[in-house]
């Protein structure tokens, strides 16, 4: 990625004098700004969770419902998928479409596994009487973790769409830009998860 960025930089310095602008480079910058706004979005949800997490109104308490093995497995799946999405970009930079698509498939499957585990975990909690409407704490928990899950789901749909485009068009400037953006997005979801893991789960059980 850094390499790609450096190359873009050269193009840019050259292109600028003629009044052209490298659209892919602008897209990446725009996407970084979007990610900043997403960071704010999650920060607000985190803050809400932290403020409300003890407001259980006599209902079940989150820390007693968390099952760490499941959470560890989720973490493992998501981190690995982030790694494989990196391998996909590597394959792309070497011009290998097939390999690129295959790594994307692996990434998507791992992501789907993560989601499945998360949903299972949610269902379990609801069975134990900790549902969305139980208390301020439960609502804050499901909204925060669920928003991350929603991001992962949208990322999956997007990734599948990109696979079709890759199949049809191969690696071009445009598809390369799109893959760079989604891998950025995927790494970002990983980072958010680390915060979820530490603030919601680890600090919850400790």
């Amino acid at each position: 990625m850094a390499q790609a960025a450096a190359k873009h930089g050269e193009n840019h310095a050259h292109g600028h004098d003629h009044g052209h602008h490298d659209p892919q480079e602008m897209k990446i910058l725009g996407f970084w700004f979007f990610l900043i706004s997403d960071v704010i979005l999650f920060s607000v949800l985190f803050a809400t969770f932290i403020v409300l997490r003890d407001n259980t109104a006599g209902g079940p308490i989150l820390s007693e419902l968390i099952k760490m093995p499941g959470v560890i497995a989720e973490t493992f799946l998501l981190l690995t998928s982030s790694f494989t999405s990196g391998l996909a970009v590597l394959a792309m930079n070497q011009g290998k479409v097939k390999q690129l698509i295959n790594w994307l498939i692996v990434t998507a499957v791992l992501g789907a596994g993560f989601l499945a585990l998360e949903i299972y975990e949610f269902v379990e909690m609801v069975h134990e009487g900790f549902s969305y409407t139980t208390s301020a704490a439960s609502g804050a928990f499901f909204t925060l973790v669920g928003t991350h899950g929603l991001h992962v789901s949208l990322g999956l749909i997007w990734m599948i769409g990109l696979m079709f485009q890759l199949k049809k068009r191969g690696i071009t400037d445009v598809t390369r830009g799109k893959i760079n953006v989604i891998s950025l997005y995927w790494h970002f979801l990983d980072v958010v998860w680390i915060f979820l893991l530490s603030i919601v789960y680890l600090m919850g059980v400790m």
């Binding site: 602008h21 725009g30 409300l52 301020a136």
Partner: protein
């Protein structure tokens, strides 16, 4: 069956109020008239090709401004209704619950659907031209932002005749805005109208940041950037950090109402104070979002009409950036009285007062720019001059309000109402009017005649002071805000009566402006403007008025702060820039997706408002399909050939 239908209609439409019946009839007639006119003159295709699908930033800007002026009218009518109700004691014009709806929609519309789009309109029309660019960074996203704003605003306005208006104040504090206290659909309209247009605002912020970072003309280094563009940049930084807060806050409120969550409820552990913190973490920066671009406008106008370089360019930039930073550390001054404790109050009092410093720096810079300038009193300059005393008074009362102990006295009184209208009208509205008059010839290619404009200026200004000065007094006498009526024994009626007269004077000022514009349109052929009618200083004035769709036939350079001014000086000395060869110009293609996708957002929003899940899902599915369609379309741009550029330039320059 028929009975069921009747019952549905009586809940669906707002019934029982003659004012609203009147509005319904008016809306119906206007809609029918628009459809009829478009059909009769066979203009549907024209409308679709030239406006609904356009990605041209100048046209998008014009649509923003038109929408904003219509919203100024709606918000203004709300204001006049309130002032009428308060003109005399014991008036029976608006019932209390109707009064609640009117001040809520007035505040919401004025800030989110009048000030914001007016500002975005000016961004769109001017920023690319000022930095010598052919477009914004993401033209498609730009069109999408506009249509999201527009349909969000329409959704909000629909609440007037369908379902019922929100009535919990423009910031919708819980528990008032919760299901327990607002069981109707009005709050849902509020949430979704703002939510949908808010996505557009965030996207615009990102779009213009990238545009300004990446698309400046060669040679235009950061410290050469025109001041308006600097103000846009600092505003966009605030938007980027503030708007996601609003998005989440409203989403959480909606989850409370719709999905039975307990974020801000009074039961099961909810915490209303959390909402109030969050909404003001967006809300206070928001007032700087709308005022900073006005500061940019004033800077351009002061230096153009004083024929001098802006005094203290660097300190201006620095002041702007400091304001955007500090604006995030003042939010708690909105609830000094809610028991945060002395330390917290002291912190927020100090940060609030600190903002007066950079603001003061700017005012002195404008004054020094005018000092010894050759000042011309055209309307843009008059609005700028009127702004200065208005903002000084507003700023000083603001500092009074920021004294935490004193705020226990002023809080939620008419003193506050007078203060914030003074900065919002004197700063924001006057600023955008000034900008509109200043850039009008650049947008439309003709000059407005100034006579009616000066009438408008004086009625607005006199009206302003007549309206709001008495409110400071009546506030100190104990009249609180959001009061729908009062008795003779209070001793407030004379001041209120005067205030109402002032409000109507401002209404007359607005009518003068409408007349001025109508008059200009009627005579536009004889009022044709040159590329540079004000003898101005920045790059947008170096091209014909109105600008051709590709803006600049050849990419300009931006080596000086007032590049166009310097260029004129050079030309006067006989130094001409080397002739540059024309090259084909790369342009984005029109697209119907932004419009269609926003319509689907509207449908989804409407479904959520009424809790009709099928409709919400349908709308969201439509949104998804539009996104996929966009992602799969690769044929999104084209080139304008050199011949065509030559022809366009010849016809534009020939007639100048």
């Amino acid at each position: 069956m028929l009975e069921g239908l009747k019952e549905f209609a009586s809940e669906f439409f707002v019934t029982g109020d003659p004012l609203i019946y009147g509005a319904m009839v008016a809306i119906g007639i206007t809609t029918i008239a628009i459809v009829a006119v478009l059909t009769y003159f066979k203009k549907w295709g024209w409308l679709w090709r030239n406006w609904l699908t356009t990605v041209d930033h100048k046209k998008i800007g014009i649509m923003y401004i038109i929408a904003s002026i219509i919203m100024l009218f709606r918000g203004g009518v709300d204001a006049l209704m309130m002032r009428l109700q308060l003109a005399m004691p014991n008036m029976d014009f608006l019932h209390p619950e109707h009064y609640n709806q009117v001040f809520t929609t007035h505040g919401t519309i004025m800030i989110l659907f009048m000030a914001m789009p007016f500002m975005f309109g000016l961004f769109n029309v001017i920023v690319p031209l000022q930095i010598g660019a052919r477009d914004v960074a993401f033209p498609f996203l730009n069109a999408l932002s506009f249509w999201l704003f527009f349909l969000g605003a329409m959704l909000f306005n629909l609440s007037f005749v369908i379902g019922g208006s929100p009535d919990a104040g423009w910031l919708s504090y819980p528990p008032l805005s919760e299901l327990s206290h607002s069981p109707g659909v009005g709050q849902n309209f509020y949430i979704w109208g703002i939510q949908i247009s808010g996505i557009g605002s965030l996207a615009t912020g990102i779009n213009f940041m990238v545009t300004i970072i990446k698309m400046r003309a060669p040679g235009m280094r950061w410290m050469k950037l025109p001041m308006f563009t600097w103000s846009v940049f600092s505003t966009c930084i605030i938007i980027l950090f503030a708007f996601p807060i609003l998005t989440v806050t409203l989403a959480l409120l909606f989850l409370d109402r719709f999905a039975g969550a307990h974020f801000f409820t009074l039961d099961l552990g909810g915490n209303p104070m959390m909402y109030i913190n969050l909404i003001w973490m967006w809300g206070h920066p928001e007032v700087y979002i709308v005022v900073l671009p006005a500061f940019g406008v004033f800077s351009e106008i002061v230096s153009t009409f004083s024929r001098k370089k802006l005094f203290g360019y660097k300190s201006m930039v620095f002041a702007m950036l400091i304001i955007s930073f500090l604006s995030f550390f003042t939010w708690a001054h909105h609830f000094f009285t809610m028991g945060s404790g002395a330390d917290v109050n002291a912190f927020f009092a100090v940060t609030t007062m600190l903002i007066a410093i950079p603001t003061g720096v700017k005012i002195f810079n404008w004054l020094f720019t005018m000092y010894r300038g050759r000042i011309r009193m055209a309307t843009p300059m008059m609005w700028t001059l009127a702004f200065i005393p208005c903002f000084i008074v507003g700023g000083m009362t603001g500092v009074l309000l920021s004294v935490a102990p004193a705020d226990f006295q002023f809080h939620n009184s008419y003193f506050l109402i007078a203060h914030f209208h003074q900065v919002l009208i004197g700063g924001v509205v006057f600023g955008y009017f000034a900008g509109l008059y200043y850039w009008w010839p650049k947008m439309f290619g003709f000059q407005l005649e100034e006579k009616l404009g000066k009438w408008a200026f004086w009625t607005w200004n006199i009206g302003f002071y007549v309206c709001f000065m008495p409110q400071y007094a009546v506030g100190l006498m104990g009249m609180t805000r959001r009061l729908s009526t009062y008795g003779w024994d209070t001793g407030w009626w004379e001041l209120n009566f005067v205030s109402t007269i002032g409000a109507f004077l401002m209404g007359v000022g607005f009518l003068f402006q409408v007349a001025q514009i109508a008059d200009g349109i009627r005579k536009y052929k004889s009022l044709k403007a040159s590329g540079d009618p004000w003898d101005a200083r920045t790059l947008e004035w170096s091209i014909p008025s109105p600008a051709p769709e590709y803006n600049f036939a050849v990419t300009p350079r931006g080596d000086d702060i007032d590049e166009w001014w310097e260029e004129k000086e050079r030309r006067a000395k006989g130094i001409y820039p080397p002739e540059q060869k024309l090259e084909p110009i790369h342009m984005p293609k029109n697209s119907g997706i932004p419009f269609v996708m926003s319509v689907f957002w509207f449908i989804a929003g409407f479904g959520f408002v009424f809790g009709w899940l099928w409709m919400a899902i349908l709308g969201l599915a439509g949104v998804g399909i539009c996104m996929i369609a966009r992602s799969f379309s690769y044929d999104t741009d084209y080139y304008i050939p050199v011949d065509e550029i030559k022809r366009t330039e010849a016809s534009l320059r020939g007639s100048v």
